[in-house]
């Protein structure tokens, strides 16, 4: 879910080029297109990123808004705190998920952001896929707007492949959803249109997976956390449109150029890092700097997989439209049980030749965070992967303590570097 600020400085002009510029343009166009004043106005559906039903809704002519993405865009642009404080004055407690507060605060203040006005919903689609807070959040939206709410109940993944009863349950809910859409829009469902949209999705998914897998190269031509977050926008928000699919063509072209010309995220890739967890969007740049200072490049990350595990092979399949949508919604990263999550991470460590893991815990997100300490313990003691755990918030700048976080990162990489130096491997000196 990445919609970084257009105003943010590029880390290296040679590194982030055409794709980044194109991504900015797509973001701008998307928000401009949402403008409620625009005519003719299309109906608006609110949706969550994980396990979303964008293709179906798009095939009925809806505009799709993802409040999580709006919230994270606000955070990157340092606009989240005002919304959070407003939500707190409505009674949302300190410990409620920052996305929820940021969004409901924004909604209550009229939806005005510096990048456009967010329209009110005509339909609320809650894919309960991996986070219980989704259910609560959409209940609150439903109560505020009186818009109809469709709750798409997605069973939690406890086994590697979906069970037949899960798929049956999901497909029958999808048919019920389609009937609801037919009733709301007065249009009848067009299976061929859905298949066409799914084919576009599939094309984007191919491209996105190719990009993510470039992190396997040594040195990695991509930054799999900080850069990926920029490029998550099309796969999550525009999936099903030709623009999204074309976008990844440009991205991968650029990555190939990098490989050819030796343009890298950092002059020297000293540490290949796996990053787990939601980013601290409020201090995203600073956080990136803390990595760069030590020559740490993230070659793989779990967070870009919240919209689906495409890098591990999943594709929407136009020949099995509803079944593949059902499988997709089961496959969001946070909808995987801890044993499955651990397996994914173990695979990543191996496939991407990871030196160390940095876990960023989110104070107000239990779905991602509860159990990350156990993950740390497992990585260190059972997998022998040096792992750092740090904690702040994705939305609330009050919980990002720069000095503390920097101190921990310095100590972590300092000792990794020292171990390398004394073990006779690549010598490095503190900056």
């Amino acid at each position: 879910m990445g919609t970084p600020t257009p105003s943010s400085a590029t880390p290296s002009a040679a590194f982030l080029r055409d794709a980044r510029a194109l991504q900015r343009k797509l973001v701008e166009e998307y928000y401009a297109g949402l403008d409620p004043a625009r005519t003719p106005r299309r109906p608006v559906a609110y949706m969550l990123v994980g396990g979303n039903l964008a293709e179906i809704v798009r095939s009925f002519g809806y505009e799709v808004v993802f409040p999580e993405i709006v919230a994270l865009t606000c955070a990157i642009k340092h606009q989240s705190l005002d919304n959070i404080l407003h939500a707190e004055s409505l009674g949302y407690g300190l410990d409620v998920c920052g996305y929820v507060k940021s969004d409901l605060g924004l909604q209550d203040r009229g939806g005005e952001t510096s990048f456009g006005r967010i329209p009110r919903p005509d339909l609320l689609v809650c894919s309960f896929s991996g986070c219980y807070v989704y259910v609560k959040w959409w209940e609150a939206l439903a109560e505020s707007y009186g818009a109809p709410l469709f709750l798409f109940d997605v069973p939690y993944m406890r086994e590697e492949s979906p069970r037949k009863e899960d798929i049956d349950y999901l497909v029958s809910q999808l048919w019920e959803f389609i009937r609801l859409l037919e009733k709301r829009t007065g249009r009848s469902f067009d299976m061929n249109e859905l298949k066409r949209v799914l084919a576009e999705s599939r094309r984007a998914e191919e491209g996105w997976a190719e990009f993510l897998q470039a992190g396997r190269l040594r040195p990695s031509p991509i930054e799999a956390y900080f850069e990926s977050i920029f490029y998550m926008f099309p796969i999550n928000v525009l999936r099903g449109t030709p623009e999204a699919a074309d976008f990844y063509r440009v991205v991968n072209e650029e990555v190939r150029t990098r490989v050819r010309e030796g343009i890298l995220p950092l002059p020297q890739e000293k540490f290949r890092v796996l990053v787990e967890g939601v980013p601290p969007y409020t201090n995203y740049r600073m956080f990136w700097d803390f990595f760069r200072k030590w020559g740490a490049v993230s070659v793989v990350a779990t967070y870009p997989k919240v919209g689906g595990l495409f890098d591990r092979g999943f594709r929407h399949d136009p020949s099995r439209p509803l079944e593949s949508i059902a499988e997709y919604s089961l496959g969001a990263y946070v909808n995987q049980s801890w044993p499955l999550r651990r397996q994914i991470i173990a695979d990543y460590v191996r496939e991407y030749q990871v030196d160390a893991t940095v876990i960023h815990g989110i104070k107000s997100c239990r779905s991602f965070t509860a159990g990350q300490g156990d993950l740390r313990d497992w990585l260190i003691h059972e997998r022998g992967v040096p792992t750092l755990y740090i904690e702040s918030d994705h939305q609330d700048p009050r919980y990002f303590a720069p000095a503390q976080i920097k101190n921990r990162m310095d100590a972590f990489f300092e000792s990794l570097e020292h171990h390398r130096a004394t073990a006779g491997a690549s010598p490095g000196s503190p900056p």
């Binding site: 404080l85 707190e88 004055s89 009674g91 300190l94 700048p397 009050r398 919980y399 303590a401 000095a403």
Partner: protein
Amino acid sequence: MITAGLDLGAGTVKGALLEDGERILALASRPSRGVPVTSARAVLDELEEGANIAPGEVDYLCTTGFGRYAIPERHLQVSDFTSSARGARFLFPRTRLVVDIGSQATRTMAVSETGKVLKFKMNEKCAAGAGRFVERCSKYLQVPLDEMGPRALESAHPKLISSVCAVLAETEIINNVAEGVPLSDILMGVFLSLAQRAHSLMRYVGIQPEVTLVGGLVRSNGMVKALRDTIGMEVNISADSYYAAALGAAILGHARLRKLRTAPGPSGG
């Protein structure tokens, strides 16, 4: 009828002596760390002396504040919210919202025309938003408490504190000093941070004029300005606002006593 109100706060004991629930005979206060009983007795003595009455002439004693159960000879005890609200209304009859910033807690309450508490809220989680924090800043920054307000008023670009934790906020302040932020801006930042926390509590109960500030921080003109600027509204203060809770207790004591005297019967409470 002479009634006394004692506010046994976490930092200070305040007392008020009232005649017929209307006329202030005396006000007094004393610091209290830990056990407030001795300070409370001393405040009572001081009140009696100040009003020039003999001990025993006090008809009714009502306590409030954190140590309200500590005085065995009390006739009644009421909560801080209830007493501050009454006191604020006594001082400013058109009060609809009371903000009480004391040493350990910031409290807000919406009150009715009669001074009854309608809705209330206090800071529960983090203590960075109350007077003790200001005291610590005064110690750290080596600016006496009394001077913090006047110095803060000189600020042109207040430096806000982002940390929610009282302890981490201190470090943040020290960093600001080290980075050369002018002292007045830091001081105003401290008051503004308090004001912002109070503001969010106030919004929780609903903001309606008139707003009356009571409690220890009313003594600091920096705090008053910060609150006014933050909520964008006039805030009532007076020299006696510091004693609002004690006054409120004395008033409630008077009301109770009158009820008892006019309609003698079994007493509960």
